[in-house]
């Protein structure tokens, strides 16, 4: 098909219909705006596309990444530093592109964290407490331009939409037992009670309590009881089946756009979803000060223009950066000079921990849920004194019971075990029931030498450059990971493990083929200063006032937590900004 067709103009076009896109669409359609959402992936729905409507096939969905977007559609090129040539990533491990309506919010595990208040103000807080003393050269520590307290009502709203299970530890200013005493003050209890402990979680809770730490159940998007959310949509209780991450939930119990938002949204006349519609870029007006809409290609290869008054990028973090660069919105980051903002502030997640082996246990790991776990935050964020440690930040130290899936756990045997054959089988049969992991999910900060830009060599099927990621750990990451790894080993010993195998992913060079975490962040960050951020606190681009961007791409630094709830809160905050301010002013919401 040739030629570009033009669709009827919309008030708002949303690019990417995951959590951010669906939450913003819900707010804006409720405010009466006419919204068209373009989603590259297919329509996938609970009763027709997720187990038990389809087979619960670990090989297909988890091992082979059945829900992810094929690399033939788009991938990332990767290198560790600017001296290297980047190569395309050909297997999804640290990058996990969603490929359906619902985005990655459909296949995620469900950990529903609020970031620590410190995470939003790392620039000023670190300067205040430590000066330059503990910071590694090249770190770009900066504030978000929005504080935890300002975002709290939006976290609260997101959790109520998602039905999040958990126990509050800091409620309306007072510290509560059993919750996380280090969390920012919450305005209400979690919507549904905390999930139940497995044997391993109970052991970790008991051990860390005895050590003087403060264990609590991880807030989960695997909800613990029936729930009716503020949109009138109902959810069912989790059955602890453990088929969460890499799967859609067929039991209506994992928070997702499908389960929580779309049932209310799709009934509205002023909302349109076009699935299997791939956006190439936004188009700008002559003066470059506003966008006219976006160009996309439908499933039949037809090219379309979707004009709109407001353009919102809510694609995967990688694609938000790429769409800005392809649309020529904002100044690209220049590594040589350290100037420019799009592609700046890329970060990951710094992981360490310990694999533990016990002599005589029956952990029954088949009882699981994506976000089922116990954590201590005693060594996360700035919850402990870093003086003399040579790093800032920290990690949540968790004991999880996410699943007992037989293929995925096949590596959970002691080091040195044969990789196959009778000895491996014997070892696996034992370690399936007797092994456990302490997992440290650590902070990651922007660094001068870490960035994303358009690849000079590799293109996608439409001839557009792929995004190139230049990333490696820095000294801050290595020290933090080692420090928290040692804590995990201590806990493992106290818990009675007979064999402990510590790990520190920051020790060597980073590789996208090692799935320690899938939490890539930043690259189109919010902030108070247009010289160091692509967006203002509302997610509005500094240069083109009718283009907004929301996702983990917005984070100036990554907390020691999973990103989803913070993405959801920023999306709701962006929507309120549009409704309450932008519709009247049609200009920048924050003075540059």
């Amino acid at each position: 098909m040739s030629g570009t067709k033009t669709r009827e103009k919309a008030d708002v076009v949303i690019v990417g219909l995951g959590w951010s896109g669906s939450l913003i669409a819900e707010e804006l359609t409720r405010a009466g705006l006419n919204v068209v959402a373009l989603e590259r992936g297919k329509w996938r729905d609970t009763a027709t596309d997720f187990p038990p409507a389809i087979d619960m096939d670990e090989l297909r969905w988890a091992t082979r990444r059945g829900m992810m977007q094929p690399q033939a559609v788009e991938t990332v090129t990767f290198r560790n530093n600017s001296e290297q040539e980047a190569l395309p990533v050909r297997e999804w491990n640290c990058f996990q592109f969603g490929w359906n309506v619902g985005g990655a919010g459909t296949h995620w595990a469900g950990m529903t964290w609020r970031f620590n208040p410190w995470d939003f103000e790392v620039g000023s807080k670190v300067r205040q407490r430590y000066g330059q003393a503990e910071t590694t050269p090249g770190l770009q520590l900066q504030d978000w331009g929005i504080t935890y307290d300002e975002l709290e009502p939006y976290y609260d709203r997101f959790e109520k939409i998602a039905g999040t299970s958990g126990t509050a530890g800091h409620l309306n200013g007072s510290i509560k037992p059993h919750g996380n005493p280090f969390e920012g003050s919450r305005s209400s209890e979690y919507p549904t009670p905390a999930l139940k402990d497995t044997r391993w979680m109970g052991m970790f809770r008991e051990t860390t309590t005895a050590m003087g730490y403060h264990p609590f159940t991880i807030p989960a998007g695997n909800i613990s009881s029936e729930w009716t959310n503020p949109l009138g949509v109902r959810m069912g209780p989790c059955t602890y089946c453990g088929y969460c991450e890499m799967f859609g939930c067929g039991n209506w119990s994992k928070s997702s756009p499908q389960a929580c938002v779309l049932p209310a949204l799709t009934g509205r006349d002023n909302f349109t979803i076009l699935a299997e519609a791939e956006v190439l870029h936004a188009t700008l007006a002559e003066d470059g000060k506003t966008a006219k809409g976006v160009v996309f290609i439908d499933a039949n290869g037809q090219r379309w223009e979707q004009p709109a008054d407001i353009v919102i990028f809510t694609a995967y973090q990688i694609d938000n950066i790429r769409l800005l660069l392809l649309s020529k919105i904002g100044k690209p980051y220049d590594h040589k000079t350290g100037t420019g903002v799009v592609g700046r502030g890329y970060a990951y997640q710094t992981i360490s921990g310990a694999n533990l082996f016990f002599d005589d246990e029956r952990f029954n790991p088949f009882i699981g849920a994506g976000a089922l776990g116990v954590q201590i935050d005693d060594y996360n964020a700035d919850n402990f004194d870093h003086a003399g440690l040579g790093f800032v930040g920290g990690a949540g130290i968790m004991a999880f019971s996410t699943n007992g899936r037989p293929i995925g756990m096949a590596d959970s045997v002691p080091q040195g075990t044969p990789r196959w054959g009778a000895k491996w089988k014997q070892a696996y049969a034992k370690s399936y029931q007797t092994s456990a992991t302490i997992f440290n999910q650590g902070t990651s900060f922007a660094h001068r030498d870490v960035f994303a830009d358009l690849d000079p060599t590799y293109t996608d099927r439409h001839g557009q450059p792929l995004l190139r990621v230049t990333f490696d750990y820095n000294e801050n990451d290595r020290r933090m990971a080692k420090y928290t790894m040692d804590k995990a080993v201590e806990i493992g010993k106290k818990a009675g493990a007979s064999r402990i195998e510590p790990f520190n992913s920051a020790e060597g060079a980073n590789t996208p083929y090692d799935q320690r975490s899938t939490h890539t962040t930043g690259g189109a960050v919010i902030g108070a200063d247009p010289a160091t951020s692509a967006l203002n606190r509302y997610g509005q681009t500094w240069d083109v006032h009718n283009v907004f961007v929301v996702g983990a791409s917005s984070f100036p630094n990554n907390g020691g937590y999973n990103p989803t709830a913070t993405v959801g809160a920023l999306a709701l905050y962006c929507a309120r900004g549009i409704i309450e301010k932008y519709l009247d002013t049609r200009g920048p919401l924050v003075e540059a």
Binding site: T48, L231, G232, R234
Partner: protein, 433 residues
């Protein structure tokens, strides 16, 4: 044979033809519709009485006209909805005031005759159009309905038309059908009952045409006598017994349960799916609470159709043993191990009268095809039951449903593999892996 006998037989035959003829005339007598004007056309420009239009809209909702006359994704009331009947596919017509493809050139009297007597200007309507119920709509309501349909936007029809196979393509045959099954009489108020009861009766039998599905049908599609609202089966769905029958009816439903069900699509007993989900979405959730209360009160006044009850199968019965294993593996995640379900999402199977219906068509249907719960203003979730056709073979489906029908306070006849095989064929459901 003697000549006199021949004459006698002939006379009897003639008399019979005359009687049949006279009765046929009576069955097709639409003179009651002369109350309506026969000059002004639906599409003629005219100032409409807003109160009549508003009332007419509410009547169209109660009559659930949209369920059949709006195609999925189509323009409101432009027809094109395909109705599967035992006689073939009937395509609903455009009832917008479009002059070419709708009812724009009908007079009010044409409209009355079509709605109340199945007599459109062009031809007789098949009784898939429930004129058998609508015949009792009052003149005033008909007048307001017409006003409403004059007020809506004209739209072009899809172009799809009904074409049934011989002999059902002879529409004149419907006049004979009317003789047999069409009770051509106006609504009669029962002055011994309350106004609310009469309103409930009118909404249930006339506008709501509940009996179209919930009353048993004979092979020609006429009401089976003695089965009034006692359950009927159409399109592989069993519409359950709405009387007070203790095992299979609404005995355990309070009036409030019925109101909640009609408003939200579910209650503590049941979640509407299939054709009832459509009825809730298009009609009953849009009714007023007073209308829902009237229907509920009327239904609760109906005597039990049957007092028969059964003893549950023994838990040790082989089908029960097999069914329990399948239920726990495949069903308990949503319906829970004791059949409690999830409010507003997954049907509460324990002590559920619809589960005990003698005709298991709906149960087999949802297991093989899956189903979508009603999506309403009050509960937009629209939870879905996945299809298990790929996973469970005929014997598995029979066993798990037999188990459900005989557990947690339920007792009903077992389901056989043959029942499931027949349904699988008729639904066109895939074979199990």
């Amino acid at each position: 044979m003697k000549r006199s006998t021949k004459i006698g037989v002939g006379a009897v035959a003639l008399a019979a033809i005359a009687v049949v003829g006279a009765l046929t005339v009576r069955a097709n007598d639409a003179s009651a519709d002369d109350a309506a004007d026969n000059t002004v056309k639906t599409a003629d420009a005219a100032p409409l009485d807003p109160a009549a239009v508003a009332r007419g809209h509410q009547l169209a909702v109660a009559g659930d006209c949209a369920a059949c006359h709006t195609a999925p994704g189509g323009k409101p009331y432009a027809g094109g909805h395909e109705l599967q009947t035992p006689f073939g596919t009937i395509v609903s017509t455009n009832i917008t005031p479009d002059r070419d493809t709708g009812i724009g050139n009908w007079t009010e009297r044409d409209f009355f005759k079509a709605v109340r007597h199945g007599q459109a200007p062009e031809h007789m309507l098949y009784p898939a159009m429930p004129y058998t119920a609508y015949v009792q709509i009052t003149d005033r309501d008909m007048h307001d309905l017409w006003a409403y349909f004059r007020s809506i936007a004209p739209a072009k029809a899809s172009g799809k038309e009904t074409s049934l196979p011989f002999p059902f393509n002879i529409r004149l045959a419907v006049s004979g059908w009317n003789l047999l099954f069409f009770d051509n009489r106006p609504f009669v108020q029962d002055n011994t009952k309350s106004a609310q009861w009469n309103q409930g009766h009118y909404l249930t039998d006339v506008l709501g045409h509940c009996g179209t599905c919930h009353t048993g049908k004979n092979v020609l599609g006429g009401d089976k006598s003695g089965t009034y609202l006692a359950g009927g089966t159409l399109q592989n769905w069993h519409a359950p017994d709405l009387t007070a029958s203790p095992a299979t009816g609404l005995a355990a439903w309070s009036q409030e349960d019925i109101v909640t069900y009609l408003r939200t699509g579910s209650n503590r007993h049941a979640v509407a799916a299939g054709p009832m989900a459509e009825a809730v979405e298009e009609s009953t959730q849009r009714m007023t609470d007073a209308e829902r209360q009237a229907i509920a009160g009327y239904l609760k006044s109906l005597p039990a159709h049957t007092t028969a009850t059964q003893q549950p199968l023994a838990a040790s019965d082989p089908a029960m043993v097999r069914g329990k294993v399948i239920f726990e593996a495949s069903c308990s995640a949503c319906h829970t191990a004791t059949g409690q379900g999830i409010a507003g999402m997954a049907t509460h199977l324990a002590d559920n009268s619809a589960v005990r219906s003698d005709d298991p068509a709906s149960l087999i249907h949802v297991v093989l095809d899956g189903a979508r719960a009603a999506r309403t203003q009050a509960n937009p979730t629209g939870a879905g039951m996945p299809s298990y056709a790929w996973k469970l073979d005929d014997a598995d489906v029979a066993a798990v449903l037999t188990y459900v029908r005989n557990s947690w306070g339920n007792a009903a006849r077992p389901i056989t593999s043959g029942d499931v095989a027949d349904a699988r064929r008729s639904l066109g459901a895939r074979k199990a892996l």
